[in-house]
């Protein structure tokens, strides 16, 4: 089992409603979330804005510390693991961010960006590893010398993917990584991600608000609503016979490129 998440809770102090004196009330973002991610699975995490899907992802990578429940990664409990121990674990789980323009340092060349996490993990032979990562995402090796602003949106997102896979992690979290892209680059990035999962034997969690994208890529789906899991299951079954009312509402709201679709 790659991940076992049990009764995960996470709350933030709600500073908007903090009284002048005294503690701020807690804002519950995750209200007891439980699920498993099997090795080799591609899990889609879907939900509306504010449903807690990004918070869940960040808790799984321990970029946030849960306030309750447990997360175990490949048999190791990482719920409250300290930063020193986490550093060793981090090369096994990596993240691809939504907006490559703000997640790639504009002052560093692509080569330096991809090498960054490798250097932090104390690996050697960096240029070779960078070339290899660029090969895997289908970018020319010469791109190592370029700056992010010289690339198109789709190419930048490939750099984000290259940085994540360069460490050869077991697990990758992709948070809304195609929502800023045009359909043609979106199709390329999705196809690439599908190939990498297959070739490298990755386990992937793919956060998206777009159920059409999820169906295309994922073999399991988790539907979040107001910080709770409303439905979880195999992709085909969930799309063919959605159980939760919220899942049906989400599916019914998607405008298909077809003027004959009954759309109320």
């Amino acid at each position: 089992m790659m991940y076992e998440v049990r009764d995960l809770r996470l709350s933030f102090p709600d500073m908007a409603h903090k009284p002048l004196i005294g503690a701020a009330p807690r804002l519950e973002v995750l209200k007891g979330v439980s699920f498993d991610v099997h090795k080799g699975a591609v899990l889609g995490i879907v939900g509306g804005s504010g449903s807690g899907k990004s918070t869940l992802g960040r808790a799984m990578l321990r970029l946030l510390e849960p306030t309750g429940g447990t997360i175990s990664f490949d048999g190791t409990d990482i719920t409250h693991m300290g930063e020193d121990q986490l550093r060793g674990m981090r090369k096994r789980f990596q993240m691809i961010f939504q907006d490559p323009m703000s997640s790639l340092n504009p002052r560093r060349r692509v080569g330096g960006i991809i090498a960054g996490p490798l250097r932090l993990q104390g690996l050697d032979g960096l240029p070779g590893r960078v070339d290899e990562a660029l090969d895997m995402v289908g970018l020319p090796r010469g791109f190592a010398q370029r700056y992010p602003h010289e690339l198109s949106g789709g190419q930048r997102q490939r750099v984000g993917i290259a940085r994540a896979i360069a460490l050869r992690p077991d697990f990758i979290l992709a948070d809304e990584i195609v929502s800023g892209l045009d359909v043609s680059s979106q199709a390329q990035v999705l196809n690439l991600l599908g190939e990498l999962v297959r070739d490298l034997g990755l386990t992937l969690a793919f956060i998206s608000h777009d159920l059409s994208v999820i169906r295309r890529l994922c073999n399991r789906v988790l539907v979040l609503h107001h910080g709770e899991v409303v439905e979880e299951g195999a992709t085909a079954a969930l799309f063919d016979a959605p159980q939760a009312a919220y899942t049906r509402e989400l599916l019914g709201a998607i405008p298909l490129p077809d003027p004959h679709q009954p759309w109320g």
């Binding site: 509306g48 804005s49 949106g153 045009d182 359909v183 043609s184 680059s185 979106q186 199709a187 390329q188 999705l190 196809n191 608000h209 777009d210 159920l211 059409s212 994208v213 999820i214 169906r215 295309r216 992709t235 085909a236 799309f239 509402e249 989400l250 599916l251 019914g252 709201a253 998607i254 405008p255 298909l256 490129p257 077809d258 003027p259 679709q261 759309w263 109320g264």
Partner: protein
Amino acid sequence: MSGYLSIRNLTVRLKGGATILRDVSLNVGAGQVHGLVGESGAGKSMIGKAVLGTLPRALEVVSGQIVLDGTDLQTLPPKERRRRIGASAALIPQDPLTALNPSKRIGPQITRRLVDILGWPKVAAEARALELLEEVHIPDPVRVMRSYPHELSGGMRQRILIASAFAAEPKLIIADEPTTALDVTVQKQILRLISEMQARHDTALLFVTHDLGVVSKVCDTLSVLYAGKVVEEANMHRFFMRPIHPYSAALLAATPTYTNPTGSLTPVPQAVIDGVEREVAEHDMRAAP
């Protein structure tokens, strides 16, 4: 055939530089909804801005006509042109948070246009604003009139901008990606509302979007743009049954749909890009003096 809005051979250029719109022609009849579709940078928003006279300063209209209700806007003196556009056209913008002033209450933001620009008495403008908020299904409109934008949800703010666009009974509305920032469930409500308002007021609507799914739900006709050039103009049903231009067909093939899980997703093939780039280059050759 000419519609309420008729754009003929519009060419827009970066002053002393690149061409942004290439010989664009299109018609939107009264009560019709026309979609503008294309990938980012195709120039779809620039068409709307050219009509409203809000092109960035660095851009200029080089040639062509924008005919609004029978009058060529380019022939009018600037002041008269602005008056004419202000009285007959309105915009529903993309991002409802930046389009509303965060430090002013909702009420004055809706009535301001009516009072300051169209010279309505304040009381009449306020009554009209309340009526509009009810029309866009906002619960408790009296309270909302006194609220600040941050107190309202994204869907609510977009409803207010729709109300505000329809306030002066414009004959033409330009909607620029009005639901891109919203959740699908809210998007559905807002799209329905726009269609409902458009039909009731018999407005011509120019609808800018990158989403072919959205276009198929609200528009009657559409233009597909690539690099500022209209590559295909079509009736909605014909377009989705039989797209004629290879680029249109490629865009459709690249759009994922949850009803077709096994069909593989085809990125727009390089050959199609090369083909449409060649068309653009040939067009520029002909246009060059």
